[in-house]
């Protein structure tokens, strides 16, 4: 089994090459997609101001209130259904899911998060509609049919929750016992010193995370890759915008 995460940068730039390459993997893949770019575009068009929380240590994160969640679910669903419909045209009957469908991805809402408020004081506030995955129904995600999963989970109370797409893809890979996790974005892989790093051991990945060259999303991807490697899952970070991007990723072009 292969879990393929199609990042937002691919979804918003050109997802057609990934879709064209998917039919041959339909019987052994599970797709997880992103789409933060479309979420941001819709929020902007709707005039919804992004809200941020500042955490102790200075890190900030976007606050997902109900209005933002609604836009998140809408945008992700458009992406999900576009992928499913495009696969239909290629003769692949896929099933687009959120975690709420058949309860495939259950999460706990972050009910308490620690922030530093405007006055510089630490405060515990509601974390908004963001979830931490607690259960994946692996059997319901395995093909056939090919499942296309949005980064949306469901809480016990029936709330839809925004979950991190990379993390979800990794959790799904672990739950179904995938051999490979392919992370497709708009770069050729992990680039260190101007060249693509061909392969990394778990230890090397952990070492790199500490370096200055790796930041933000890539840092999280690396941490995950290190953890995945320990679980026996090979993580490939590769470019989703090239011809036959999945073939390329599995033939070892990325990291």
């Amino acid at each position: 089994m292969i879990v393929i995460k199609v990042g937002g940068s691919v979804v918003c730039k050109d997802v057609s090459k990934v879709i064209q390459n998917l039919p041959k993997y339909a019987d052994r893949a599970i797709i997880v997609h992103g789409g933060g770019c479309l979420v941001n575009e819709m929020l902007k068009r709707l005039g919804i101001e992004p809200k941020f929380l500042t955490h102790p240590g200075g890190l900030t994160s976007r606050y997902t209130d109900l209005e933002t969640l609604k836009v998140f679910v809408m945008a992700m669903s458009w992406i999900n259904k576009q992928i499913v419909a495009s696969l239909h045209a290629l003769g692949v009957e896929a099933l687009g899911l959120t975690g709420a469908d058949l309860g495939v991805v259950r999460a706990k809402r972050k009910e308490k998060v620690l922030i530093v408020d405007e006055r510089g004081r630490q405060r515990v506030v509601d974390g908004g509609y963001v979830g931490r995955v607690v259960h994946i129904a692996a059997d319901r995600l395995k093909p056939p049919p090919l499942k296309v999963l949005s980064p949306i989970a469901v809480s016990e109370k029936g709330e839809l929750l925004n979950v991190d797409g990379d993390q979800l893809a990794f959790d799904v890979a672990k739950a179904v016992g995938a051999r490979q996790l392919v992370l497709l974005s708009d770069v050729d892989g992990l680039i260190i010193g101007g060249r693509v790093v061909p392969h990394l051991t778990a230890e090397e990945a952990e070492e790199l995370v500490k370096s200055e060259e790796v930041r933000g999303g890539m840092k999280r991807k690396l941490l995950m890759a290190a953890e995945a490697a320990k679980s026996g899952i090979e993580v490939v970070i590769s470019n989703g915008l090239v011809e036959n991007p999945i073939d390329v990723a599995l033939n070892g072009s990325g990291t």
């Binding site: 955490h55 972050k110 308490k112 006055r119 004081r121 405060r123 515990v124 979950v163 991190d164």
Partner: protein, 61 residues
């Protein structure tokens, strides 16, 4: 108008201590004597302390 003092009592050591006047619901406070940490809860004007176990979620995506 006289300012009402917000005095609470530490569940661990019994020390009574004062909260800042502008304290908000959810704020983290600690006992000046034993250092026990609490979440200040303000509901309908009543102030209480909730044990702060540090079990807050990490920041999200």
């Amino acid at each position: 108008m006289a300012t009402q003092k917000l005095v609470v009592k530490c569940n661990v050591c019994g020390t009574e201590f004062e909260l800042p006047e502008d304290v908000m619901d959810g704020e983290i406070t600690s006992c000046p004597t034993c250092g026990a940490r609490y979440i200040v809860r303000i509901k309908g004007g009543a102030v209480s302390l909730e044990e702060f176990k540090g079990d807050v979620e990490d920041y999200g995506e």
